[in-house]
């Protein structure tokens, strides 16, 4: 029977010839990951299961990225607790400051998230790895603990929605972030609840891996179980010299079944800004023009990759951040940081008046390194603009791509990039 890429990956990992949406299965896991916020609860639950060892120390990743570099004593205690667990369990992929990056930037870079994989992570943006053609989904700490103990997880096979992006004539500065914000604006924050979002078409083929990661990263913001893009030449080029182990790519059959198929022409998608307090409040950047802001954040698991920084530097080079604006830039990983130094990106950003940080999730979730005061507004390349997300419950977050963020940092208010160039 014809299957989607998501169904094929789940069938492969359940040891079944085929699966259908709604079916409950138990699947073998290729990678189980957690961070410094979710791992402590998962480890405590893991110990309650009465198991001594994790199922496979090579297939566990623990990344200390949320409140690290440790923001206070309590955060330091959490990181220490995880480190002790990682050492005792001989966890292969344990990363702390100096080697760590934002988990969803770091793990693909290390080549440990691969096409055809089945991955769970105690972080909702685990769906990012779908950009490589993997089934990857966020879970809570108890599910993660069960995964650590058994190497398996149970799933309800999701229905799939297909999003076809026709054409490759993107409007200037439009990227993956605009495509996904546009889609979430159309279907809402629960528009794909429990379902798989499959992205395809000439528009997707034309996008770089960095842009594809951005798209799949935000599938959760439509309530999806996973986002996924079939591997192609660009995927294999990205994986060259990077893949940590052999892998098997999967592809949707031509007559696979979808609960819905939505088509868009990329030429019709303008630059997007999502207004507070939901990602579904996305609008044409022109409708946000003139909104005064206090802080701009460029980074996160959504837009902290090298191309994002290149875009920001392209706009900021030779210009100055508005004196009323705080511009914070967070490279996603140490490698991205080094690459940005080599290319002169960091120099251009600092010269323009940006503060460049070591990798951390910090401000995206209102953790540290850029908290908003009451009444302040931020424009951010992050993924959520919920009430209180970046600080005070009466602060506001607007979401956009790195080009709009950089241009607006120069102007001091939200602006289309062409207005500052």
């Amino acid at each position: 029977m014809a299957m989607t890429i998501t169904e094929k990956i789940l069938a492969n990992h359940a040891g079944l010839d085929e699966v259908v949406p709604g079916q409950l299965i138990t699947a073998k896991l290729d990678l189980v990951l957690a961070n410094d916020v979710t791992a402590p609860v998962a480890i405590q639950e893991f110990e309650k299961f009465g198991t001594d060892k994790v199922f496979d120390s090579q297939k566990v990743a623990l990344v200390l990225d949320h409140f690290a570099p440790n923001k206070d004593i309590a955060s330091a205690e959490q990181c220490k607790f995880i480190k002790e667990f990682a050492r005792k369990q001989e966890v292969k992929h344990f990363y702390q400051v100096g080697r760590m990056g934002i988990e969803h930037c770091l793990l693909p870079e290390l080549g440990i998230t691969l096409p055809g994989d089945c991955i769970i992570g105690a972080d909702s943006h685990t769906c990012t790895y779908g950009a490589l053609g993997a089934f990857a989904t966020g879970v809570g700490s108890t599910d993660l603990a069960a995964g650590l103990a058994t190497g398996e997880a149970w799933f309800r096979v999701p229905e799939s929605i297909k999003f076809i992006f026709q054409g490759n004539k993107f409007q200037p500065w439009v990227g993956g972030k605009d495509l996904i914000l546009y889609v979430i604006g159309k279907i809402g924050v629960d528009g794909a609840r429990y379902q798989a979002m499959e992205f395809t078409g000439e528009g997707i083929s034309a996008l770089s891996m960095d842009n594809r990661f951005t798209i799949c990263n935000m599938a959760i913001e439509a309530g999806a179980k996973n986002g996924i893009i079939a591997p192609d030449e660009k995927t294999y080029e990205y994986l060259e010299g990077r893949a940590f182990r052999p892998y098997t790519s999967c592809f949707s059959d031509k007559d696979a079944r979808y609960v819905e198929i939505m088509e868009f022409d990329v030429a019709n998608i303008p630059l997007q800004v999502a207004f507070p307090h939901l990602p579904e409040n996305s609008k044409n950047v022109e409708e946000a023009a003139g909104i005064k802001i206090d802080q701009v954040v460029i980074g996160s698991c959504t837009n902290g990759r090298i191309e994002d920084l290149r875009t920001a530097a392209e706009i900021l080079r030779g210009r100055q951040v508005h004196p009323e604006i705080r511009l914070l830039v967070f490279p996603g990983t140490q490698n991205i940081y080094r690459q940005a130094i080599k290319e002169g990106i960091i120099d251009a950003l600092v010269e323009a008046g940006a503060a460049v940080s070591t990798p951390t999730c910090g401000p995206c979730l209102g953790g540290h390194m850029g908290i908003l005061a009451k009444g302040e507004k931020a424009l951010a390349t992050t993924n959520r603009n919920f009430v209180g997300r970046m600080g005070h419950p009466e602060s506001e977050v607007y979401l956009c791509n790195p080009a709009v963020a950089a241009a607006s940092a120069i102007r001091g208010e939200i602006v289309h990039p062409r207005e500052v160039l």
């Binding site: 609860v41 309650k48 009465g50 309590a74 959490q78 629960d190 919920f386």
Partner: protein, 162 residues
């Protein structure tokens, strides 16, 4: 019997427990800040046995299990919503926090109403308005899992008895 606390659609996990409090996972610490960015009066005034009522997509956003842990630790007996976000739904049951999907009950309960819920039968009674709603009850194994306090104690108990 408890009082109903009512919230709207798309209540996200940052509202349920803001990330600034996730530097600790102690349930009482989390309970003290539960729903803080949505209603400052909630955590200081919620009582054991109260009921949380909300619209669609309750618990959207982060995968933090701290969210249902906070709600459970502050004494909420059950969350009744029109629908739940996927990760929250699993997390709530995994830690033994009862949740019911029942749009009719959400429409028929106002903040402050006195409500009783029978988790075995799925019956929801609004004593204030003298109305009754039927949610789909959990199958027996899920009721046992909730009574055991979540997936980990449930699995351990079955291992011991099996």
């Amino acid at each position: 019997m408890g009082k109903a606390w009512k919230f709207g659609h798309d209540v996200d996990t940052d509202v349920i427990i803001p990330a600034r409090y996730l530097n600790k996972s102690d349930p009482q610490h989390l309970a003290a800040h539960c729903m803080e960015d949505g209603d400052l009066n909630f955590a200081p005034n919620v009582k054991a046995g109260d009921v949380l009522v909300a619209g669609k997509n309750f618990g959207c956003g982060s995968s933090r299990e701290h969210a249902p842990i906070a709600i459970k630790a502050c004494g909420i007996e059950v969350v009744i919503a029109e629908s739940f976000a996927r990760i929250f739904y699993r997390n709530a049951l995994n830690i033994g926090m009862p949740i019911l999907e029942c749009p009719e009950a959400v429409a028929g309960i106002d903040a402050g109403d006195e409500v009783t819920v029978d988790l075995n039968s799925g019956q929801i009674n609004n004593l204030t308005k003298k109305t009754f709603f039927q949610a789909r009850p959990f199958p027996p194994f899920m009721q046992e899992l909730i009574k055991a306090g979540g997936l980990a104690p449930y699995v351990r108990g079955r291992r011991k008895n099996g």
